[in-house]
Amino acid sequence: MIRIAVRSALGSLLAAIVGVLAVAVVSIRWVFPQVVPDEFSLDLAARTLRSPSTHDALVSGTVLSIAVTLIALTLAWPAARALARSSGGGQGLVVAIMFLPSIVPSVGLAMGISVGLLNLGVDGSMGAVILAHLVPAVPYAVAILTATLMRYDHRLDLQAATLGATPLQVLRHVTLPQIRAGLVAAAALTFVVSWSQYLLTLLAGSGRVITPTMLLFNATAGGNPVVIATLALLVTVPVIVLVSFASGSPENGSDDGRVST
């Protein structure tokens, strides 16, 4: 009941934000204290979306976040498996330690990573930004996958192996389908973490890797409100869609609630 109430409240809040942004996108000359804008037009928003810089940022942002998601999940998988199967407890502590870099103020973290990449001579490239994004992204992937795998009955894997499945077949035919919900949640949130990074992208990419989030921050410094609203929608909508998708996935990571023995 509480969960439904919280979800409803958050949903209403997000709907209000998106609603205001949507109105702002089509508003021409909307100044205080006018309740409604003088006129409505999609021209500027359309031009903003069609511009080469937006297109390039969208492509590079998407490629960047997908790459970060895939790498983060790949790195997180063995760690999560080890944590989930360890019998000594303390998994929460290990995950908390992994989150420590995220507690540091983002400027400090971004500067530190940037200096490190500079020393390695790899700053300013897409690879450098991917490396930088992995720092905040991997802990989320590990945390979600660990929680998912802790609920997963790994005897299913053993059962599949005794039926003749190779380790790869076990992963493909049994484990991954069974933990699909947790995997989707981990992927969605990892994507969102990468998608919404500004400082890390700016410093690690030395301003050469442009994402929609960076365009938005640049536009807020004296840009047109319609352009800002359009870019804000461009940044926000994927986040809302992915978070909704992830939180709407079945609760049980193993998806095997149907089996009663």
């Binding site: 053993l158 039926l163 003749g164 035919h173 149907r258 089996v259």
Partner: protein, 359 residues
């Protein structure tokens, strides 16, 4: 048809830790059902894990048809494991579950389908192919798991207490079905259970495990008569252990003086430090003379009198406790012939059924 030979199997989870299994050796004959019987934590499931390749033994070998399984990875071993919980894959239908082992071996879809239909018919689930596992009862799930385990025609079926979670009628039905399948397919079965009744109902051979060691093994009927050790006697429910000194052909025990057959004594000296020896007799073989024996009027050798102090109904028979002095003997008698509690009864312990056990 395949045989399994386990030789000197020892397993420790940690190199310097306590041994879960210690020098375990036994044979599973071709096409038999062999039960590993023992209390919880005795190491039965660990033995299956070592055979299936889920545990790496610290020492010893497992041979199937003479082939050492040690270098063979789990998925290539000629065995399948039936677990206590059916462990069906919830994202697959019943038929897909049954076909799983064939699919990962890249058997053609047509052959797979044919085999799953055949196996589901065999376990009595002919119309269940398209259902989700979650729609099935516990017994039906275990039947599907059995069909799935047999689909690849394993040399040996390892069953780890697969009926442990089922209601008694379903359990009996599946026991019968398992024996039928074993007889019709010739699949060798190694079945783990802690339930003596179940082990006696289905097994051709019993291997009693306790404390990670083989305590005794043999044909069930023979093992019930001659359990070998006192702990095995207790485990098998051979509750009548008579302790005393041997004088000539007689055992002087608290319950009385009984003639014993020297041929039933253990070959090696099995007395305790105070010279006492232990002899057992199964409750089925203790005759309640007054109640059921045609020769009741002439109880002779090995007959003692006592008072019926407790009874427990087991199906159509009654387990009767008779207090003979400070000792309680247990006998099994037909319910209609059971004397009332408090009655004085004479029980006879046939010499032919008394066997010595180790302390």
């Amino acid at each position: 048809m395949s045989n399994v030979s386990v030789e000197g199997l020892t397993h420790r989870y940690h190199p310097r830790g306590e041994a879960m299994l210690e020098d375990v050796s036994f044979n599973v004959p071709d096409g038999s059902i062999t039960c590993l019987l023992g209390p919880s934590g005795s190491g039965k499931s660990t033995i299956l894990g070592c055979i299936a390749g889920l545990h790496k033994p610290s020492a010893g070998t497992v041979l199937v048809d003479g082939v050492d399984l040690a270098p063979i990875p789990t998925h290539r071993r000629p065995v399948t494991l039936l677990m206590q919980n059916a462990q069906l894959f919830a994202h697959m239908t019943v038929a897909q579950n049954v076909e799983f082992g064939l699919k990962v071996r890249r058997v053609s879809p047509r052959t797979r389908r044919h085999r799953s239909v055949e196996l589901l018919d065999m376990v009595g689930l002919g119309g269940f192919a398209g259902r989700d596992p979650g729609q099935l009862s516990g017994g039906e799930q275990q039947r599907v798991a059995l069909a799935r385990a047999l689909a690849t025609e394993p040399a040996v079926l390892l069953a780890d207490e697969p009926l442990g979670n089922l209601d008694p009628p379903v359990r009996r039905d599946l026991q019968r079905q398992l024996v039928e399948i074993n007889r019709s397919t010739g699949t060798t079965v190694l079945f783990v259970t802690h339930d003596v009744t179940e082990a006696l109902a289905i097994s051709d051979q019993l291997v009693v495990i306790d404390g990670g060691r083989v305590q005794s093994s043999g044909i069930p009927g023979e093992l019930l008569r001659r359990p070998g050790t006192r702990s095995v006697a207790d485990l098998l429910g051979v509750g009548n252990v008579l302790t005393g000194r041997i004088e000539g052909d007689f055992l002087d025990a608290a319950a009385g003086r009984f003639r014993v057959d020297p041929a039933h004594a253990l070959p090696t000296q099995a007395s305790t430090t105070d010279g006492d020896r232990h002899w057992v007799i199964h409750p089925d073989h203790v005759h309640v003379v007054d109640a059921c024996d045609a020769d009741a009027s002439t109880p002779t050798t090995n007959a003692v009198s006592g008072i019926a102090v407790a009874s427990r109904l087991i199906g159509t028979r009654v387990e009767l406790c008779v207090a003979v002095g400070s000792y309680q003997l247990t006998a099994v008698v037909a319910s209609e012939l059971c004397p009332p509690l408090g009655a004085t009864v004479t029980v006879r312990l046939p010499t032919a059924q008394l066997y010595e056990v180790r302390p």
